[in-house]
C-alpha cells in the first residue's frame, strides 16, 4: 500500500536490554521527575480569596443594562427569547405609565423577565439579537443552590443596580468586532 504521508513509522517490538529489565534506572528517573514537581509553581487558585482572571470572551451570567440616566434599556421586544436556542428566556411586556419615564427608556418595558440558568447554554445569541443594548453576558458566575427553582433568575437578579453598574466594555468590544 502506498503511504499518503511520509510520517508513517514501522513499529518494532524490541527485546528489552538487561538494564531496562532491571527497571530501577527507570524508576529512579521517574522519581527524579516527580520530585521536580515539588518545587514547581502551583497552579491552584485559592478560589474564594483569589479569583481566576477570565478571558475577555468569557460568557457568564447575563445582565440587563440601564442607560446613563438609570433607565432600563429593555423594551421587551422578545428577540432574545426568539433567538435563544435553549428557550431559556421568557418575559411579559407592559406599557410604560405616565411618570415612569425615569424608570424605563422606551414606552414598552419588560414587567417580568426570566432566564432559566439551568437551561441557558451561554451561547450569547440573546446578546447578539438585542437591538437595544439591553442584555449582555458578563464574567460573573452562577452561585450554587440547593433548589432548582432558584436558578430561574428574575429581574431582581438580572437588572443591574443603579449604584453598582456592571462593566461590559470588554463584551461590547468583542460584539462590535464580530
Amino acid at each position: 500500500m502506498q503511504s499518503l504521508t511520509n510520517r508513517s513509522v514501522v513499529v518494532r517490538k524490541r527485546e528489552m536490554s538487561f538494564m531496562e529489565k532491571l527497571y530501577l534506572p527507570a524508576i529512579l528517573g521517574g522519581m527524579a521527575l516527580t520530585i521536580k514537581h515539588l518545587f514547581k509553581k502551583k497552579v491552584t487558585n485559592k478560589y474564594p480569596e483569589v479569583k481566576r482572571i477570565f478571558a475577555p470572551i468569557y460568557r457568564g451570567v447575563h445582565v440587563l443594562k440601564r442607560d446613563e440616566q438609570g433607565r432600563e434599556n429593555c423594551t421587551a421586544c422578545g428577540l432574545c427569547a426568539v433567538s435563544c436556542p435553549a428557550e431559556a428566556i421568557t418575559m411579559v411586556a407592559a406599557e410604560r405609565k405616565q411618570g415612569e419615564e425615569n424608570l424605563y427608556r422606551e414606552e414598552k418595558y419588560a414587567a417580568t423577565y426570566e432566564i432559566n440558568m439551568l437551561r441557558c447554554i451561554f451561547c450569547g445569541l440573546c446578546e447578539e439579537a438585542c437591538p437595544k443594548d439591553a442584555i449582555y453576558l458578563t464574567d460573573r458566575l452562577i452561585e450554587s443552590k440547593y433548589d432548582r427553582k432558584k436558578f430561574i433568575y428574575g429581574k431582581e437578579l438580572l437588572v443591574e443596580k443603579i449604584d453598582e453598574r456592571i462593566d461590559i466594555s470588554k463584551r461590547k468590544k468583542n460584539y462590535t468586532m464580530a
Binding site: 524508576i27 521517574g30 522519581m31 521527575l33 516527580t34 520530585i35 514537581h37 515539588l38 514547581k40 509553581k41 502551583k42 497552579v43 491552584t44 485559592k46
Partner: protein, 342 residues
Amino acid sequence: MMDWSIIIEKSILVVVLFGVSLAIAAYSTYAERKIAAFLQDRIGPDRAGPWGLLQPLADGGKMFFKEEIIPNASDKFLFILGPCIFMTTALMTSALIPWGKSMNIGGREISLQVANLNIGILYIFAIVSVGIYGIMIGGWASNNKFALLGAIRASSQMISYELAMGMAIIAILLTSNSLNIRDIVDQQEGFKWNVFYQPLGFLIFIICAFAECNRTPFDLPETETELVGGYHTEYSSMKLGLYLFAEYTNMFISSAVISCLYFGGYHFPGIDSLHLSQNVAALVSVAVLFSKTFFFILFFMWVRWTLPRFRYDQLMRLGWQVLLPLAIVNVLITGAWLTYFK
C-alpha cells in the same frame, strides 16, 4: 520498690510511644495529601487551620460522626475483631524499637526502648504476620466478594513477600550475630551503616516493606479501581478509620525498622565529637532516628505518586521469581564472605 519504679518508667514510655505513634499516623495522612498535591502541582488541604494543619483532626472528627454500619450478612464478632487485631498489632511493634540512647534522670539509667528482647527482630516479624489476620478476618467477615478478594490478595501478597523480607534480614543477622535490635543498631555506630554492606539486602527489604504495608505499587488489596475499597469495602465510621490509621502506623513502624536495620538507627556520624551531656545526647539521638524515619515515610509517599500499581501476576512473579532468589543469593554471598574473608 525497684519493680514499681521500673513499671512506672515503662508505662510512661508506653503512653508516650502510643501518643507519638498515633500523632504521626494522623499527620501522615496530612503529609500524604500535601505531598500528593505538591507532586501534582497542587496546594492540597489548606482550609482547616494554618496550612491545613488541623485537617487530621477534622478527618478524625468526621470519622467519629459517620454512621456505623455492620452489614446484616456479616459475621458480627469477626467484623469487629478484624480492625481491632490490625490496629493492635500495628501499635505493638513499636515497643521493640530502640528510640534513642539511654537517658540518666536522677541517677537512674532509663533506656528509651520499652522492651529489649534478645529476639527483637523475630518478635517484630511475628507480630507483623499476625497483622495479616486483621485484614483477612475483616475481609472474610464482611461477606462481600470485593472484600474477600481484597483480603485474599492481601494475605497472599504479605505471605509471599515476608519470605523474601526474612531472607534479606538473615543476611543482616549473619553479619551482626544478634537478633537484638539494639545490638544491631549499636554495631552500626559512626558510619558503618548496614546499607553500605548490604545494598542488595536493603533493596529487597524496602521493596518487601512496601508490599507489607500495602503501599503503591503493591496496593492490590485495596485497589479502588478494581475492588471498590478492597478488604475494607464494607467498613464505615471509626472501624474504617482504624484500618486506615493502622496502615499509616504500619508505615511509620516499618520506616523506623528500616532506619534501625540499615541506616544506623539513632546513630549519626560525628555525633560523639560534639561532647554533649548524656541526656542531651539521648534527645539528639531520638531526633536523629525520627528524622531518618520521616525521610522514609516521605519516601513511601514519593514512590506512591511515581509508580503505578502492579498487575497481580507481576506482583507474584516479582516476589517469588525475583526477590526470593535474589535474597537467597544475598545470604549465600554474605555467608561466603564471612567464612572466607573474615
